[in-house]
């Protein structure tokens, strides 16, 4: 009898804590949604449950002539698509070499990738700015693409290499005996088996331009070249005309699709990270 009572109390305790966490997690998220439905433009008048609902901000983003939202969406899609495809190609090549070949500098290459992955791109900002300026890629989406590919490379290569390592070597050994060349082994044996991690790398590279505002802020100057995150950031960073509710509306429109994709993919990312880190 006492045991079941204790049991029940414990379980209630756990559920209470879980419930509390739910509240803490959902409070700011719900607040964002309600903010986006508030007709005003400032934080003063807004409350968690709006008195009068309205889609005026969503409407503004899409239909107002002074809104660049769709243009920003297009820019971001452009950057995201190219970054994602190019990253996958470059990263898969590098990972293939590191996983399957012995060559001079392999060991130190892996270590330096591990090291470089810890340095934020931000540390070399001044040089990147000057370098892009010299080659005329400042205020250009292509400049942004190149930095994204390079900045994400060590981390991504590490993930994919970790996954390649889990694919048995016997497979490519036997293919080699059958006379398959390097590329054939790569494209017909490794890549099809590594589809999950390739998909994850592609998707995360696709998503990061939607979430990053800092690099675009340093590289892009003209509003018609902004990406979504930078454009939204400027809604509230503008000292004289900050518009929090409009920001919230734009943010909800990026956050919802990203969150959905993310929830589907996170377990691949977790297992990929765990493999990469323990086997590197």
């Amino acid at each position: 009898m006492r045991k079941t009572l204790k049991n029940r109390l414990e379980l209630t305790g756990i559920y209470l804590i879980v419930l509390l966490m739910f509240l803490i997690i959902s409070y700011p998220l719900l607040w964002t949604i309600s903010l986006s439905l508030n007709p005003g433009s400032s934080l003063f008048s807004s409350s968690l449950i709006p008195e009068n609902w309205s889609f005026v901000h969503y409407n503004w983003l899409f239909n107002d002539p002074s809104s660049n939202y769709l243009l920003w969406y297009k820019n971001t899609l452009f950057v995201a698509t190219i970054t994602s495809i190019a990253s996958v190609v470059v990263v898969a090549f590098v990972a293939f070499a590191f996983s399957r070949y012995e060559f001079v500098g392999r060991k130190y290459g892996i270590y330096s990738f591990l090291l470089l992955q810890m340095f934020p791109v931000l540390m070399g900002m001044v040089a990147i700015y000057l370098l892009l300026n010299t080659v005329g890629l400042l205020d250009s989406l292509w400049g942004l693409v190149i930095i994204y590919i390079g900045g994400g490379l060590p981390m991504n290569a590490f993930l994919v290499k970790g996954y390649f390592d889990t694919i048995p070597r016997d497979l490519d050994e036997s293919a080699k005996i059958d006379g398959a060349g390097h590329f054939r082994i790569f494209f017909q044996i490794l890549l099809p088996l590594a589809k999950p991690i390739i998909a994850v790398v592609a998707l995360f590279n696709f998503m990061s331009p939607f979430m990053d505002f800092l690099l675009p802020r340093i590289i892009l100057r003209s509003p018609e070249k902004f990406t979504l995150a930078l454009g939204l950031f400027n809604f509230i960073n503008d000292k004289f005309a900050n518009n929090f509710t409009r920001f919230a509306a734009g943010a909800v429109l990026i956050a919802v699709p990203i969150a959905i994709v993310f929830l589907f993919l996170q377990r691949y990312l977790i297992s990929g990270l765990a493999d990469g880190a323990t086997k590197g």
């Binding site: 049991n7 379980l11 756990i14 804590i17 966490m21 997690i25 959902s26 700011p28 998220l29 903010l35 934080l43 968690l48 470059v90 990263v91 090549f93 590098v94 293939f96 070499a97 590191f98 070949y101 392999r106 290459g109 591990l114 090291l115 470089l116 340095f119 934020p120 791109v121 931000l122 540390m123 070399g124 900002m125 001044v126 040089a127 990147i128 370098l131 010299t134 190149i146 930095i147 390079g150 490379l153 390097h182 979430m211 990053d212 505002f213 340093i218 995150a229 919230a248 943010a251 990026i254 990203i258 993310f262 929830l263 977790i270 990270l273 765990a274 880190a277 323990t278 086997k279 590197g280």
Partner: protein, 433 residues
């Protein structure tokens, strides 16, 4: 390997001299020609003349530039000279590797020729090169991008720390000069720089340690709780706990910044007002720090939680049953089975979490721009090293000091990375058994 018969087939070149080949190869290609490797020799010759012709001017200016950083104000831009100079150094390194390869190649081919080794035909030679060079070809594009986007900027940044580049002395109007370790001396001896550095550095360490550890502790507690066999709807609970990670962080941080606003933020207005409390979240350094740590825990625990949940599900039930037979309490089981197992499996990723928070620019900058300002100091109350570097670079244009502080950061990150290596390596060795 070639069959024995071919190795001994030819004795015509038994007096061939490898040393002569090396000496001739001082001009790349000649040694190869002497070795009767015509195509390779011509290729090397043409390549080295082309390099010399194409790059001579660039590198000449580059080396002059990196040495003097320009001599005529308004006309020489020290920054582009520095870029060109560093590129020249990089190119020189690449060429040096090629040159050494050329010498070794001449020597090896000559000794093979002397032993009567028959060289493969052109097409076979090409195939061999392709085979042996394959991994290099694969790494090359990545290495190229990495060099320009990550490595070169870091080297450039290091170089800036030894110049006098700031707002008052900036190209193209003025020339830069090499100043040796002067900037480092100023940082460590000038009272206001030193006090700023000490307070930012100590807050960075506290921030990294407290926020990451709290993040891990919260995640661990929740993961163990949700993993309890009696809890229902596990999948739903886990999905909701991961939400803060799934929503782009720049959105949530900005929303938090609004919610914590002293005057009209939701926290003061909705949650604390009924108790008659109003906390200066953004204008008081201590409260700012507390709120920023809370926000980071909110943002960061889901990743660790997901990680732990995955590992927990893989812990064998037999171990717990064995512990129960031995009469171990629940705390014993956690302490001796769960904790070591989870920590062991995730240690490298947890170290990466510490490194991530050490460099967590987004939270600090978006929440309060590193503020509030602190009297007598150059950095704000919540500024960590990286946000301070950002401010020095883009707000104060004090590039030289930003570079010096970046170097200090780099050293700390490298130490963390070293820890990480040792972990990963010990892992690999464990796996062999």
């Amino acid at each position: 390997m070639k069959p024995q018969s071919e190795m001994t087939a030819d004795r015509r070149f038994s007096s061939h001299k490898p040393i002569a080949a090396v000496l001739l190869s001082i001009l790349p290609g000649l040694g190869q020609l002497y070795n009767r490797r015509w195509i390779k020799g011509i290729l090397f010759l043409v390549l080295s003349f082309a390099m010399l012709g194409l790059l001579y001017d660039f590198m000449n200016i580059g080396f002059w530039g990196i040495y003097t950083l320009g001599t005529i104000p308004m006309e020489d831009d020290s920054r582009s000279l520095l870029v060109q100079g560093l590129l020249s150094v990089l190119v020189t390194l690449f060429l040096a590797v090629f040159y050494v390869y050329n010498l070794i190649d001449a020597y090896k081919d000559a000794s093979k020729l002397k032993q009567g080794f028959k060289f493969p035909s052109v097409s076979e030679g090409a195939r061999l090169t392709w085979d042996r060079g394959f991994p290099y070809f694969m790494v090359l594009p990545g290495l190229f991008i990495l060099t320009f986007v990550v490595i070169f900027p870091l080297v450039f940044m290091i170089a800036l720390a030894f110049t006098n580049y700031n707002m008052y002395n900036s190209p193209p109007a003025k020339l830069l000069d090499w100043v040796g370790f002067e900037n480092f001396t100023v940082l460590f001896t000038d009272p206001s720089w030193r006090s700023s550095l000490i307070s930012v550095l100590s807050w960075t360490i506290i921030w990294t340690f407290v926020s990451t550890t709290l993040q891990i502790a919260v995640a661990m507690g929740l993961a163990v709780m949700v993993n309890d066999a009696r809890v229902k709807f596990k999948k739903l609970i886990r999905t909701i706990f991961i939400l803060p990670w799934a929503v782009p962080s720049f959105v949530t941080i900005l929303i938090f910044a609004a919610m914590f606003n002293d005057g009209f933020g939701a926290i003061n207005r909705e949650l604390l007002a009924p108790f008659g409390i109003s906390i200066p979240w953004l204008s008081d350094p201590t409260w700012s720090r507390i709120s920023i740590i809370m926000i980071q825990v909110w943002l960061g625990f889901p990743f660790v939680f997901a990680l732990f949940s995955g590992v927990l599900q893989s812990v064998s039930k037999d171990w717990y049953e064995a512990a129960e037979v031995d009469g171990g309490s629940r705390w014993d089981k956690f302490r001796h089975i769960t904790l070591p197992h989870v920590m062991y499996a995730t240690a490298p990723l947890l170290i990466m979490q510490y490194a991530g928070n050490f460099n967590n620019f987004n939270v600090i900058y978006l929440f309060n721009e590193g503020g509030p300002p602190v009297r007598g100091q150059m950095a704000g109350g919540t500024d960590i090293l990286i946000s301070w570097v950002y401010k020095l670079t883009f707000e104060n244009n004090n590039y030289k000091m930003a570079a010096v502080i970046s170097i200090i950061m780099g050293v700390i990150v490298a130490i963390l990375a070293l820890l990480q290596f040792r972990r990963s390596r010990s892992f690999r060795e464990e796996k062999m058994f």
